[in-house]
């Protein structure tokens, strides 16, 4: 019996809940560490970036307006779907990075567990980060965290899956939407993650995934006036100071680069970084 011929996947972008090719028609070759061809990934353009920001902006209202309980369930659903596709993700990590099978499986496990950890924060973060304020007067005064808006993310470049998960999950917890530029060398896991998101009740536009050159795309993301937060966690090899300067024009909130395979390790501060504290004063009547 002859060996079955495989059906390879076309890896495209993920914008507004759809999987378009780059409008530029460009692709780049993704290879194994030994140089064997794996796939052609889309080489996203400035226009793709702008389309992604537009989609993310349009999704803010629905995602931030969903109840925290609902967001928590949707993010937990992402973990459930990932769990069922562990083998596929491990295969992709092995193929792209040359990691051992055990190492790849451990990375997938960690990525799933981080989704679960962050999913659980959705309906608790406001309790931890907000509080009532005992002002000196007849007012009910309360401070609560709200999402910043559209967050541009340069995903950690040294890992295929756990890095991108660790960067986007905390931004989603409070209700932000995300445009993420995947690891340039290991983009395939990011697009497979997008397939998981697309089948996990995450509304279209809440996460948008671009593959290609972070050096080419990051300046457009940093300077875009509709990008309100910029996570440069994976931008350590870029001219990231210039990105910060570009972001300063519209007071965009910026997280600096982090190095190493444990970049974007889970913390409460990563959720807090892209939230705004709203304080409301309600008058109390005299009774």
């Amino acid at each position: 019996m002859s060996k079955r011929l495989t059906v390879p996947k076309t890896y495209k972008l993920y914008i507004g809940g759809a999987f378009p090719r780059s409008e530029s028609g460009r692709t780049y070759e993704v290879a194994t560490p030994k140089g064997e061809f794996l796939a052609n990934a889309a080489l996203a353009s400035r226009k793709d970036t702008r389309d992604a920001v537009l989609a993310a902006r349009g999704a803010v209202k629905g995602w931030s307006g969903a109840t925290a309980y609902n967001r928590g369930q949707v993010l937990y659903r992402v973990a459930e779907i990932l769990e069922g596709r562990k083998a596929q993700f491990a295969d992709e990590i092995v193929a792209q990075t040359g990691a051992s099978r055990g190492g790849a499986e451990a990375e997938v496990d960690e990525a799933i567990d981080r989704w679960v950890w962050y999913a659980g924060w959705c309906d608790k973060f406001a309790q931890v980060a907000g509080n009532g304020n005992p002002v000196a007067g007849p007012y009910f005064n309360i401070s609560v965290p709200e999402p910043t808006g559209v967050i541009g993310v340069i995903a950690p470049q040294d890992t295929a899956l756990v890095g991108i998960v660790s960067a986007i999950a905390p931004a989603l917890v409070s209700g932000n939407t995300v445009v993420v530029v995947a690891s340039q060398r290991y983009p395939l896991s990011a697009i497979s993650l997008a397939e998981v998101l697309a089948t996990s009740d995450v509304p279209g536009g809440v996460v948008n995934v671009l593959t290609g050159s972070p050096a080419e795309l990051a300046p457009w993301l940093a300077s875009h006036p509709d990008v309100h937060g910029l996570d440069l966690v994976g931008a350590g090899d870029l001219d990231w100071i210039d990105l910060q300067i570009a972001a300063a024009n519209t007071a965009t909130r910026v997280l600096p680069p982090e190095q190493g395979t444990d970049a974007a390790a889970p913390t409460l501060q990563r959720i807090a970084a892209f939230t705004e504290t709203k304080t409301v004063w309600h008058t109390k009547s005299l009774v």
Binding site: V128, A129, N133, I241, Q244, N249, A251, R253, T277, W281
Partner: protein, 480 residues
Amino acid sequence: MSFLEYAPAPESRSILKLRDEYGLFIDGEFRPGAGESFTTISPADEKPIATIASGTQADVDAAVAAARKAYDKTWSKMSGRDRGKYLFRIARLVQERARELAVAESLDNGKPIKESRDVDVPLVAAWFFYYAGWADKLDYAGLGADPKALGVAGQIIPWNFPLLMLAWKVAPALAAGNTVVLKPAETTPLSALIFAEILQQADLPAGVVNIVTGAGATGAAIVRHPDVDKIAFTGSTAVGREIAKAVAGTDKKLTLELGGKAANIVFEDAPIDQAIEGIVNGIFFNQGHVCCAGSRLLVQESIHDEVVDRLKTRLSTLRLGDPLDKNTDIGAINSAEQLQRITELSRIGEEEGAVRWSADCAIPENGFWFAPTIFTNVQASHRIARDEVFGPVLSVLTFRTPGEAIEKANNTPYGLSAGIWSDKGSRILAVADRLRAGVVWANTFNRFDPSSPFGGYKESGYGREGGRHGLLAYLKGGRA
């Protein structure tokens, strides 16, 4: 004598013990500045008050060095309990010298004495009192156990609430264990220099707080100083942008409290008497020199005429004049430059087709003054509806539905504050949820409290001042 004519009741200036000349406050003592001195004047009569030193790069170097030494040798080693005791001392000394500080503030800034006496200075004391108690409780600030101070904090403050902005910056910085180099605004250095005397009376260790007066170049020297760990700035969005660019790529932690163009939304079921007072307080408090001023009145169409008529009637009773007079409601515009900006934007407002009404009040011969002004028939595209005027100028726009009100309110790059006036609690809660602003006042406006976080969304800046959140701007680390 009409009911509006009162005998003058000026607060006495004799309580002031001003010097003719003030140096820079560095390492616990006043010393001459290397730059060319300048004169601070009273905006109410343009008369000089005192000669003020101007800090150069070398002076800023000396101030940062003093702050670093104080941090390394004294302040970072002191217990939180003792840091707190110093802050409590400062709070009490501010209360003891409250009248003197209020007179100095009104003299130098031009704000009415009733505001500096009843709002600014009491809040200054409250701010130090509040953060004093935090100094030995930082484990509960929200960063986990044993959070650390950042080090030397550079702080640059505006001229609209000179001493209050100093308190907003200095109190949390010291409570968290940082030392400070602070630059007051060029036109309002006086109260900060009296505050330096208070620090001497409190016996605060030398170098923990350094006050370097000067103009923009002095501030830039602080921002760019390599041994400064934190920059806190309150002022214009344009300058905030430049500061954010200057600290890009450094380890300096940055918080910005920038401009605003707040919507004050009045629904047809609003408690109208309170709303009129709230609108007036929202935009004419402190001559409108307030970053969170309610400068865009969004009034439901059905009550537009009534609200505008009542506003005009109310504004006609406001008394503009001598800031030191206890009867004064509207003081002087802080500077000739600011008056020019307000005048220019108002002129553009008329040119663009908005209808201008100004209160008919006598304008003193000397000094900088601007009569309370309302623009009606304002469109969202008009510059008076988009640009921060930072003066006693109210733009009135209308809306029909809550959805339209929310959309118009959020239609600005700013996001500092907003107001809602309605008798319907459920509507207030729903509208407050959807306003993109850091502070929302419901059936009140321009309330401040040291326990209540304050700060912006969007281009109004980032970071919070006040409350537990205000501490986080001056801390790092903490064990999970």
